[in-house]
């Protein structure tokens, strides 16, 4: 079983890296980009976890380590 975690900055938290990427896109001719927010994806290869409990287990991983919930949101997909 696999899980995929998406971690993004909360709305309102400035993302200077995303802003730098937006500028760079403009510099190479992509002028239609209003904003860029950069996040991260974490893929987990799970074993020994009951499928029914996997999502909750991965949510706990996010709360306790994978995300900093002060500034980041996360979503969990079980694949």
């Amino acid at each position: 079983m696999h899980a995929r975690v998406h971690i993004t900055l909360k709305p309102g938290v400035l993302d200077p890296q995303g802003e730098a990427v937006r500028h760079a896109l403009g510099a190479i001719g992509f002028n239609g980009v209003n904003g860029v927010r950069q996040g991260k994806v974490i893929d987990l290869d799970l074993h020994g976890i009951e499928p029914a409990k996997a999502e909750e287990e991965v949510r706990q991983m996010c709360e306790k380590l994978l995300a900093n919930t002060v500034i980041e949101n996360y979503t969990v997909e079980i694949l």
Partner: protein, 232 residues
């Protein structure tokens, strides 16, 4: 006064910090490896050094904050112990939840490595008492993720409770946008816990704590601690 310095894989200011503590207290600091599960007995201060613990993987300080010794450090702090976190140590303290807020990538995206000036915003703490005559401290920063952020209500609370320890300022002590090296909200360079016994700060006082290093403004922080925590 008994002190300990926690050492993580990737710490690189641990010896500088230990030396600054020894200079102020007259006693060597105990170096404690992150895999230990208990602190030495009778400690007055635990210090978390700068560096790049665990290569800054995931988020700066995130993995160090979950290392075995940090459970003991959190327990020590919750029991009223004094804890100092400098640079990466500040990042670790935020990740443990002992201090509020988060440190983001510097607003200018660059790693900033230079001397800055700090306004000492409160002398009502064991870390800042020696600045009772006021003045501006010149202390270096060296970081990529020092852009301090808290939400507005917490920011009001930090200001209201006098828990902003240091702000970035110019040489005259004016807290200006130009003197902010990383985009931190309200130019905040260091914050105190509610009980004022935990301090996290991005600048490195240990790096200018002896005239041989080019300045000694940073030594005042360690002198403050020695004055506040040494047995009477």
């Amino acid at each position: 006064m008994k002190t300990a310095v926690i050492v993580f894989p990737g710490s690189n200011c641990d010896r500088d910090l230990a030396r600054a503590l020894e200079q102020a207290t007259g006693r060597p600091a105990t170096m404690v490896w992150h895999k230990e599960t208990a602190l030495p007995g009778g400690l007055d201060l635990v210090a978390l050094p700068g560096g790049f613990s665990f290569g800054d993987y995931l988020r700066c300080g995130a993995i160090a904050a979950r290392s075995p010794i940090m459970r003991a450090v959190v327990e020590f702090a919750r029991g009223g112990g004094h804890v100092l976190g400098i640079c990466n140590g500040f990042q670790v303290l935020l990740e443990t939840g002992l201090l509020p807020g988060a440190l983001l990538r510097n607003a200018g995206l660059n790693f900033v490595c230079r001397d800055v000036h700090l306004n000492v915003e409160t002398t009502d703490s064991p870390f800042t008492g020696a600045w009772h005559n006021g003045g501006v401290a010149r202390i270096p920063v060296a970081h990529h993720d020092g852009n301090y952020l808290v939400d507005d209500s917490l920011l009001d609370r930090l200001h209201g409770e006098g828990r902003v320890a240091f702000t970035y300022c110019d040489a005259m002590g004016n807290v200006t946008d130009e003197s902010n090296p990383n985009g931190s909200v309200s130019n905040i360079a260091g914050v105190l816990s509610a009980n004022r016994r935990v301090l996290g700060m991005m600048p490195h006082p240990e790096r200018l704590s002896d005239p041989a290093l080019g300045g000694s403004d940073g030594a005042k922080l360690f002198e403050s601690l020695a004055g506040a925590l040494a047995p009477a």
